[in-house]
């Protein structure tokens, strides 16, 4: 039945902050071209897992394979020189977006890829081209989020991760984001979403993974 391969494979991943175990021997795969939603109680390590996949955290042990390229083995980055190459396949939309405050909407994206046509294309695609000359502080939460998505998409990641994409949005905007994410997925991009919002999860997900306790051995495949 399993015709799709995996965009991310996690094997026996262990992550500690000091002595504190966040997850222990976690194994989990994320299917290519699907939208996988991770649900789970606060503080369980969802954000931390996403940050491990995106190269923002070191891990204590285990393996991460991204798009069939070994990224972490035995808790170490496999090929330090090519880290960026592996991570180029991964995009992340932060919970609080982390737009660059001193750059306009346009410049926020132009600074990543110096191609005006592409910048215009993605801003238009996300309905933000008219706002291109505004600064982040002049945008609403939903607008900031769309800029953050455009900024992540312009690099054509094979995998796009979202941390709590609906936490700053009202319910009509949530459905708007859901349809944007579905559209992204239709183009073949794999998506991982972390959320507390079960309604949103049901609206958007191909797969839902519920975490309950990651600090003991966990395997979800």
């Amino acid at each position: 039945m399993d015709t799709l391969s995996n965009i991310v494979e996690i094997n026996n991943l262990t992550k500690k902050f000091g002595e504190k175990i966040i997850f222990k021997e976690l194994s989990i795969n994320f299917k290519e071209k699907e939208i996988t939603v991770i649900l789970g109680p606060s503080g369980i390590g969802k954000t931390t897992l996403l940050r491990c996949i995106c190269g923002l955290e070191t891990v204590s042990d285990g393996e991460i394979t991204i798009n069939n390229q070994p990224y972490i083995k035995f808790g170490e980055v496999v090929d330090k020189k090519n880290t960026q190459k592996v991570l180029n396949d991964v995009g992340l939309v932060f919970q609080d977006f982390n737009l660059f405050p001193h750059l306009t909407v346009y410049e926020n994206i132009r600074i990543i890829v110096k191609d005006d046509k592409l910048v215009k294309y993605w801003l238009t695609e996300l309905g933000m081209f008219e706002k291109k000359d505004l600064y982040p502080f002049e945008l609403s939460g939903g607008q900031k989020q769309r800029v953050a998505i455009a900024r992540a998409l312009i690099l054509k990641p094979k995998l796009l991760c979202f941390d709590e994409p609906t936490s700053n949005l009202d319910s009509s905007l949530k459905m708007n984001i859901a349809s944007i994410i579905k559209k992204i997925s239709k183009t073949g991009t794999s998506v991982i979403i972390i959320t507390h919002d079960e309604l949103f999860a049901d609206a958007v997900a191909d797969n839902i993974i519920k975490f309950t306790d990651l600090s003991t051995n966990v395997s979800c495949r």
Partner: protein, 213 residues
Amino acid sequence: MDYYLTLINQLFLGALVTLKFFILIGIVSLFFGLLVSILGLVSNSFIKRIINIYVLIMRGTPLLLQLITIYFGLPIIGLSLSRTVAVLIAFALNYSAYFSEIFRGGFESIDKGQFEAAFVLGMKKRDTYKKIVLPQVIKRVLPSISNEIITLVKDTSLIYVVGLGELLRMGKIASNRDASLVPLLFVGLIYLLIIYALTKLLKRWERSYGYFE
């Protein structure tokens, strides 16, 4: 009337010396201050320790003492510097330390999400610092930098100990010669004028960063 003309002429020459040192020291110290702060952020703990000790000494002892040590003290171990060079070195060492602390605080105040966003978007470290972090740091530190710059104008009066004819020294010479306090009054006015103009300029600079939050 003639008296005032010659007096103003003398003080004007002194003010030029003051301004010359102020501008040179200001530029050199801002540059090295930024450099030291970045060095402190990116280097190992040994270099960090050295930087900490340097900052401690520069901030923990009077600038006047530092200047005296460099100009009068160094010749004892066979290293004599010209007055101008001694002044430049003493002031640059001292002010770089202050500026580096201000910049360090600025860098540390930048949300780590900015670095992370740049990393996830594949930006090089260099570009991250240059294009993302530094503009935000400059905005944050400008008020403190402005303060320090204004203090520098007044601190240049310490140069008198090595016998260079900056503004205050010229005023004092005239004051002693004429047995009058009028020259010193003029000196005060000239400082005030310089600092007034500078304040305007610095405020404008700060405003130029007001377009973002």
